[in-house]
């Protein structure tokens, strides 16, 4: 479903991602792991459409999407959950989720201003879909709260609900567990497992190896912008190069503190 072929991207002459290739099958949950600075977020931005590659091609559903803008990709069924709390301020949780319906709705300013029939019928469908998405992530009781007043864990789930409201075919998650407390992490993991059981294809960017171990079908390991290993969670966690990359990382951490 998603093919990344020899993609490179550099910033100021330094490669953030270098000649990375990977292929995600329909229905697969693929984790991308790696130590800090491995190029995970760059890869996420390349697939999401917030960055363009210097070279290489990204194919989605059999079509190259290199030139497509982020909103074009959203319309093609790629939904995104960002690392930070990218919820929309000044809107309720429900309204935040309703924004996610953009890709499969059409009506614009004129239809809205004049309350044309198209606006009415689409709004009804959006409302239903949003309600459904809120229930799925367990936020139905919080729907009319100000989104920014929710705790971080729920804001992350709210982003997932917004993504689900777009009826995505591919869900990109950028370190969804970062900054969450243990209970919130478990709840998020359960949510991702639930989505996986529903057959949703996911690309899960994550720093923590343990978090992806039971969620991912396959794991791609990045280090210094390159793929150093790929396989099942078990294969990858016993790979010498992976262990070295992570231990090296922790050494640097230790030195830094």
């Amino acid at each position: 479903m998603l093919d990344v072929e020899g993609v490179s991207r550099s910033f100021g002459g330094v490669y953030a991602v270098q000649n990375v290739s990977l292929s995600v099958a329909e229905g697969e949950v693929r984790a991308i792991i790696g130590p800090n600075g491995a190029g995970k977020s760059t890869l996420f931005n390349l697939v999401g459409g917030h960055l363009t590659a210097d070279s290489g091609t990204i194919t989605y559903s059999g079509r190259p999407i290199d030139g497509a803008s982020a909103h074009r990709r959203a319309h093609d069924g790629i939904a995104t959950v960002f690392q930070g709390a990218r919820i929309f301020r000044g809107m309720t949780a429900r309204e935040n989720v309703m924004v996610g319906a953009q890709p499969w709705t059409r009506h614009g300013f004129v239809a809205a201003a004049l309350r044309l029939p198209r606006h009415r019928s689409e709004e009804r469908a959006i409302r239903e879909q949003a309600e459904h998405a809120l229930e799925r992530v367990g936020l139905a009781d919080w729907a009319d709260r100000e989104a920014e007043s929710l705790p971080l864990g729920q804001q992350r789930r709210l982003q997932v609900a917004r993504a689900l409201c777009s009826q995505p075919r591919l869900l990109l998650l950028d370190e969804p567990a970062s900054g969450l407390r243990a209970g919130e992490r478990t709840a998020l993991a359960e949510l991702i497992e639930d989505l996986r059981a529903g057959g949703l294809t996911m690309l899960l960017i994550e720093h923590d190896v343990r978090f992806v171990a039971r969620l991912a079908d396959r794991v791609t390991v990045l280090d210094l912008g390159q793929v150093i290993a790929e396989g099942t969670p078990q294969e990858v966690t016993s790979d010498k190069r992976v262990i070295k990359a992570y231990i090296g990382d922790e050494d640097e951490h230790a030195r830094g503190h």
Partner: protein, 364 residues
């Protein structure tokens, strides 16, 4: 003792009751607004009409800055464009009603074109670009003979609707406030809709909005054009009512005034701009009367009007950062025993949002 004692129960909102109260209040305000011209004298009517045109522009400012998070310090430019469009067409024999309809279209269309390049800018840069546009426009208008140059465009005929000429200020007052109602209705409908939610989303984070499928660039241009169209409509009414236009009628201070009105009333609220327009106009008018009393120095009225914008803006930002209307709404809610605060104004327009500054360096 029941099990519920001690548990915190969230107060459920009752949308139906709220809706009924809102509708009742709205109807009352509408009736009073339409009756007011019957009791006002000629000079009061002039103030009444100019409050209405200011409210129209300010509603657009609130939509643009409060909801969509885009700053414009040059809204008076589109007020002028609307005025000159209507005035020029009428002077050359076009039916005044057509001129009035053309005013928002030309202002909105021009803003759409101007918006294509300048809406790539954000925050302070966008503010300066919109300000610069107004200065350039005024300079050009002052030089072009068929626009009347610096002397101004004179002899604009009266507005006529359905063959009846509007000669009285009362009639203008009604046309103006019906216009305000139309602008309010359009804005209300857009805010709670697919494109409206898209606008409110992009105010927080263009990246996240884009990823949710919002065509950010297109939406920004449309909302900029729409707010300019509101200003253009107001300008058209102004042109027919005053009958004379000059570059000096649309100073930069007027643009600032619209922003002060929006901020004082409540940026990112529907009715806030109307409240702001009324409050600011009344205060400025009172101080103006005071400043022109015998015994006052000649510069008093000028100083008063500048000072009042500055002081009001500072006071409101310090004590009522969300504006008068949300503050009053809170007060009413508290009086009825509801602890819930009104939602914060969307956007908080002037702050540069973290997500856009953290964007990848080469993203469009």
């Amino acid at each position: 003792m029941t099990a519920e004692v001690g548990t915190v129960r969230t107060v459920r909102r009752r949308p139906d009751a709220q809706r009924a109260v809102g509708l009742g209040l709205g109807a009352l305000v509408a009736v009073l607004t339409l009756l007011a011209p019957l009791v006002l004298d000629r000079s009061q009517l002039t103030v009444y009409i100019l409050t209405g045109t200011a409210a129209m522009v300010t509603i657009g400012v609130s939509l643009l800055m409060g909801y969509a998070g885009q700053v414009s310090l040059g809204q008076a430019a589109y007020y002028a464009v609307g005025g000159y469009t209507a005035g020029l067409l009428a002077v050359h024999g076009t039916p005044p009603l057509l001129g009035l309809l053309a005013a928002p279209l030309v202002a909105g269309g021009l803003a759409g074109l101007v918006g294509i390049p300048i809406l790539r800018l954000r925050g302070h840069y966008l503010a300066f670009a919109t300000l610069a546009f107004q200065l350039i426009l005024l300079a050009i208008v002052g030089q072009v003979d068929f626009l009347g140059g610096d002397i101004g465009l004179q002899g604009i005929p009266q507005l006529s609707l359905l063959g009846i000429q509007l000669m009285t200020a009362q009639a203008y007052a009604w046309v103006t406030w019906v216009g305000v109602a139309v602008v309010l209705l359009i804005t209300r409908n857009i805010i709670a809709s697919r494109p409206g939610r898209g606008l409110r989303a992009l105010a927080t984070s263009e990246t996240a909005a884009e990823s949710s499928g919002v065509p950010v660039t297109r939406y920004k241009i449309v909302v900029f054009a729409l707010s300019a169209a509101f200003a253009g409509l107001a300008g058209g009414i102004y042109a027919f009512f005053i009958g004379y236009l000059a570059p000096g009628s649309f100073p930069v201070l007027l643009s600032f005034q619209f922003i002060v009105m929006a901020v004082v009333g409540g940026l990112g609220t529907l009715w806030g701009p109307v409240v702001g327009a009324v409050v600011i106009t009344l205060i400025v008018q009172t101080l103006n009367d005071l400043g022109t009393r015998p015994g006052m120095p000649s510069y008093a009225s000028g100083v008063f009007s500048y000072a009042v914008y500055a002081i009001l803006l500072v006071v409101v930002l310090l004590f009522l950062p969300r504006g008068l209307l949300p503050a009053m709404a809170d007060l009413v809610r508290r009086a009825f025993g509801r602890g819930r605060r009104a939602p914060a104004a969307a956007g908080t327009a002037v702050t540069v949002d973290d997500s856009t500054t953290r964007q990848p360096p080469d993203s469009p």
